[in-house]
């Protein structure tokens, strides 16, 4: 710690920090544009010039390290003169089109020019003009003349997103921010550039010209689209969500937001939104009153419970339903005598049920990921499944951590990967076993060669090891074995292990037991042994299930399907009742994030049309079915009841024991590797038009090793017929030599591939 003085204030600060950091710590504001606490120092805007005692010229506070006894003056005559001078230069080429600029009202340049700018300009010559650029559907670069070339967006790309998609081309007066050969910015974190841009050069395309920042009311919420639990500031006007911004929390999302969280709101109120309860009579859908629909559903369920038996009723939910909704759903099912309730729709191995000691979770705090020095990520499409966790790992790697990958696909993670083993899905268990053995050998001073040994060596050399299982590992048919092996590897390397966790409330769903007990059927069994009745909460079976063919067949065979959904989706073909429920922005609720953080939020807007929060719908269903304990008045009461006596910290436990080894049936042929594309994960993002227009939402292709394509006599770019079970689809084939041989990568959760079968297993590819 060293002592410095800023504006006469004595400040103790860490050696190595800069003047601007010390000033901000002490609550002294120094004007700045290019400086950002999360990015490297560029010192190119010069706005933060301050006077330093004994320095002959003003110094940039962002790039001046503190020294013992330093005296800094931020408001002295010299400092203010320098700042005003810089401001005048910055405004020379700025168009000053604030009245038509989206950034107006929340613009750093605007604010700063009030403080430091002149009342009129001394510059009468022509201003420079920079042409507009089209850099994709999310970020608008229509008014690049506004750019002050602070390069925050460029540094964000390089340092946080891991790819340099924007850069500063040309020099001096001609310098401008461009993408390479007018390409689009495809990063899954690109929206953060909008927040970072201190002027109106990069703005939000979907939000463009929708509202002024001061007209918006701001509500605190929590992201429903991945398991990180990012804080959202939902901004609304006239009962409509118009924009979503991050709420800063150093331990969760820092100051970032993935594009999925940021732009998903565009999918909230689409034309297929369900706004009135509907029932199907004589094959025709009719809008009815709530009372009618609820009684219809309750009677149907009662009829089946009394006739065929309550075990003939199954309930499926997605894990981005709130804690309250999942709690009431399982309570309702258990109240009418059925134990069939599950949310793990894409999971295929349930052999860990009963052996798993608690709710599967991250196994550490999110912040611990940044502190880890050796990581092993198993079976994860990391960048797309967990964009901000990937960014955290990327930063850890930049600081010297080693990340190792075991997976069935080799996507570019935009970070240096120390070692990787890319193997077919049926070899994952074997690879992890090898790593575990090599680790044990390593401990006894023996070292082997090969990928597994290299990974083991890397892990053995670490002090803070983290082993993380991704969605692919969790959905894998040998998930329990993978989990047991990860546990072993973590123990051998004195590290922690956990799941990256698929959805916003997966942990919460476990905590409130939205999973079958010993008598009940799990999600896969409920579909494999079709029930007479299903209750679906937020589920689109063909897109959310491990096996869409099986899911659709089960729905079509059922006598009664009660759908609680915000959308009028594919269910109209097999459902009997559609109950319109509120989106996560329209209801209060709670999500439990991957690290076990319980976060409640309030509705930001009123539910659209006659939609009602699902917890209220379930409560009334409970009343109509005469189940006890359905008299809560508020969602808070439901939450308190759900978490009564639940010690969240104690409930989180990844430990698993007694897992039996089971081999995958060797059917031969190609094995399917299925990712769920980043913008296909849940109902809302699937409907967000801007997200669907990005490169990440392109129609899935079949990706295979070049040699496999050659075997089929197919060229990269040809259309091929892809079949599984009774279904087949036609897709473009693409050679991807980074994939292991013997696999075909075909995405799931996308309308283009719903005709196919299970996410794992054999798949046939032939010439079309």
């Amino acid at each position: 710690m060293i002592n410095i003085e800023i504006d006469g204030k004595q400040i103790q600060t860490e050696n190595g920090s800069t003047v601007i950091e010390a000033a901000h710590q002490a609550g002294i504001t120094i004007p700045h544009f290019c400086y950002h606490k999360k990015l490297s120092i560029a010192a190119n805007c010069r706005m933060c010039l301050v006077q330093v005692e004994k320095a002959p010229k003003p110094l940039p506070a962002c790039a001046t390290p503190v020294t013992e006894g330093m005296k800094v003056f931020t408001r002295s005559e010299q400092a203010v003169k320098a700042q005003k001078g810089v401001m005048e230069f910055l405004l020379i080429n700025h168009p000053l089109d604030c009245p038509i600029c989206d950034q107006g009202g929340e613009c750093m340049l605007q604010d700063m020019s009030v403080g430091y700018g002149g009342g009129h300009s001394r510059y009468h010559e022509e201003k420079r003009m920079v042409l507009a650029k089209d850099i994709g559907p999310l970020v608008s670069a229509e008014e690049m003349s506004r750019c002050i070339n602070c390069t925050r967006c460029v540094r964000f790309g390089v340092e946080i997103a891991g790819q340099m998609e924007l850069g500063q081309a040309f020099r001096s007066e001609h310098a401008e921010i461009v993408s390479f050969v007018s390409g689009t910015v495809d990063s899954e974190l690109s929206g953060n550039m909008i927040d970072l841009c201190p002027v109106g050069a990069l703005t939000s395309k979907p939000f463009r010209y929708k509202a002024r920042s001061w007209e918006l009311s701001r509500r605190r919420s929590v992201s429903a689209h991945d398991s990180l639990g990012s804080g959202l500031a939902v901004q609304t006007k006239n009962n409509q969500v118009l924009r979503v911004l991050p709420i800063e929390n150093e331990d969760i999302n820092e100051c970032w937001l993935s594009d999925k969280d940021r732009f998903a709101y565009e999918g909230l109120n689409t034309t297929d939104r369900l706004t009135k309860p509907m029932i199907k009579q004589d094959g025709k859908w009719q809008e009815v009153e709530w009372q009618v629909a609820l009684e219809y559903a309750a009677n149907g369920l009662r009829h089946i419970a009394n006739g065929a038996g309550a075990e003939q009723i199954g309930a499926l939910a997605t894990a981005n339903s709130t804690l309250e909704e999942l709690y009431l759903l399982q309570k309702l099912m258990r109240g009418i005598g059925s134990d069939n309730v599950d949310f793990r729709l894409r999971q295929s191995d349930f052999s860990g049920d009963g052996k798993q000691q608690g709710a599967p979770w991250l196994g550490m705090s999110v912040a611990d990921i940044s502190r880890a020095d050796r990581l092993l990520v198993v079976g994860s499409f990391l960048r797309k499944d967990h964009p901000l966790m990937a960014a955290r790992i990327r930063r850890a790697v930049r600081k010297g951590a080693q990340v190792n990958i075991i997976h069935s696909a080799d996507d570019d993670l935009l970070m240096n990967v120390a070692h990787k083993a890319i193997v077919a899905p049926d070899a994952l268990v074997e690879t992890l076993t090898q790593v575990s053995k090599a680790l044990a050998a390593e401990k006894q001073g023996q070292s082997a060669s090969g990928d597994a040994a290299a990974i083991a060596k890397s892990l053995a050399s670490g002090e803070r090891v983290a082993v993380l299982l991704g969605n692919f590992a969790q959905q894998h048919p040998q998930a329990a074995q993978l989990q047991a092996l990860a546990q072993q590897i973590a123990a051998l390397s004195n590290g922690k292990f956990g799941f990256l966790v698929e959805a916003a409330n997966s942990v919460g769903a476990h905590l409130v037991h939205a999973t079958p007990g010993s008598k009940g059927l799990n999600a896969a069994a409920m579909l494999a042994k079709p029930r007479k009745a299903y209750v679906l909460l937020n589920v689109e079976p063909e897109l959310d299930s491990a096996d869409p063919q099986q899911a659709v067949a089960a729905m079509q065979a059922a006598d009664l399907v009660v759908v609680l959904s915000a959308y009028k989706h594919h269910a109209t073909e097999y459902a009997d009742v559609l109950l319109p429920i509120a989106q996560y922005t329209e209801t209060s609720g709670t999500f439990v994030s991957a690290e076990g953080r319980v976060q409640s939020f309030k509705g930001a807007v009123k539910p659209l049309g006659e939609a009602r929060p699902a917890w209220k719908v379930l409560r009334v269903l409970g009343n109509l079915l005469k189940v006890d304990g359905f008299d809560q008045d508020t969602s808070e009461a439901v939450r308190d009841e759900a978490l009564k006596g639940v010690d969240v910290a104690a409930g989180l436990n990844n430990a698993i024991g007694g897992v039996e080894a089971k081999a995958l049936s060797a059917a031969g042929g190609l094995q399917r590797v299925a990712d769920v594309p980043i913008y296909s994960t849940d109902a809302v993002v699937r409907r967000s038009a801007p997200l669907q227009a990005t490169a990440d939402a392109a129609i899935p292709q079949v990706r295979m090793h070049g040699d496999e394509l050659k075997k089929l006599g197919v060229q990269s770019g040809d259309v091929v017929k892809v079949s599984q079970g009774q279904g087949s689809v036609k897709l473009f084939a693409v050679a991807d030599d980074k994939l292991p041989k013997g696999v075909a990568r075909v995405a799931a959760g996308h309308t283009a591939t719903v005709a196919l079968g299970a996410m794992f297993g054999t798949i046939t590819v032939e010439r079309a």
Partner: protein
């Protein structure tokens, strides 16, 4: 694709830098491309980026930052005339006028036969010989007069 000659030259250049700092060779690599092709197309920049393992955008930044890289075809002989202060005081304006007249092209243009291109240059660090021009960034000619320029063009015409 980068030609064999270019990659050989780049490999030689790479020996000057640590193995994990391949991007240090980017300026040289772009120079080799320009020496061979006369200019640097976007595709060439992408190839250089791939070869050196650096972002395409970073190569583009370098290529657009430095004035001596040609981002479009600039003829077989690119004449770069210095227009900075010393040269201007010593008559670079006349140099340009004479070249305009002789070649029928202005700054940044190429003769229709693709033989000559004319560019504006920055200080070449040899003000003692002002006014100056360079031929393909390789050969510098100083103390220019109309006669000397005609002589230079006559020699180039023979090539």
């Amino acid at each position: 694709m980068l030609s064999q000659q270019i990659t050989t030259l780049i490999d030689k250049e790479l020996k000057k830098y640590p193995a994990d700092q391949r991007q240090s060779a980017v300026m040289a690599a772009l120079r080799f491309v320009q020496d061979e092709k006369g200019w640097i197309a976007s595709a060439d920049m992408a190839d250089v980026a791939a070869y050196l393992g650096m972002p395409q955008m970073a190569v583009y930044e370098v290529a657009t930052f430095y004035h001596m890289y040609n981002l479009k075809p600039m003829g077989k002989h690119t004449l770069t005339v210095c227009t900075n202060l010393s040269c201007q005081l010593c008559g670079s304006g006349d140099t340009l006028d004479h070249l305009n007249k002789r070649l029928g092209i202005g700054l940044g243009e190429v003769t229709p036969d693709g033989k000559y291109g004319l560019r504006e240059g920055e200080c070449m660090g040899a003000c003692v010989d002002a006014p100056l021009l360079t031929i393909n960034n390789k050969k510098m000619c100083g103390r220019l007069t109309s006669e000397k320029i005609d002589q230079i063009l006559a020699e180039l015409d023979k090539q």
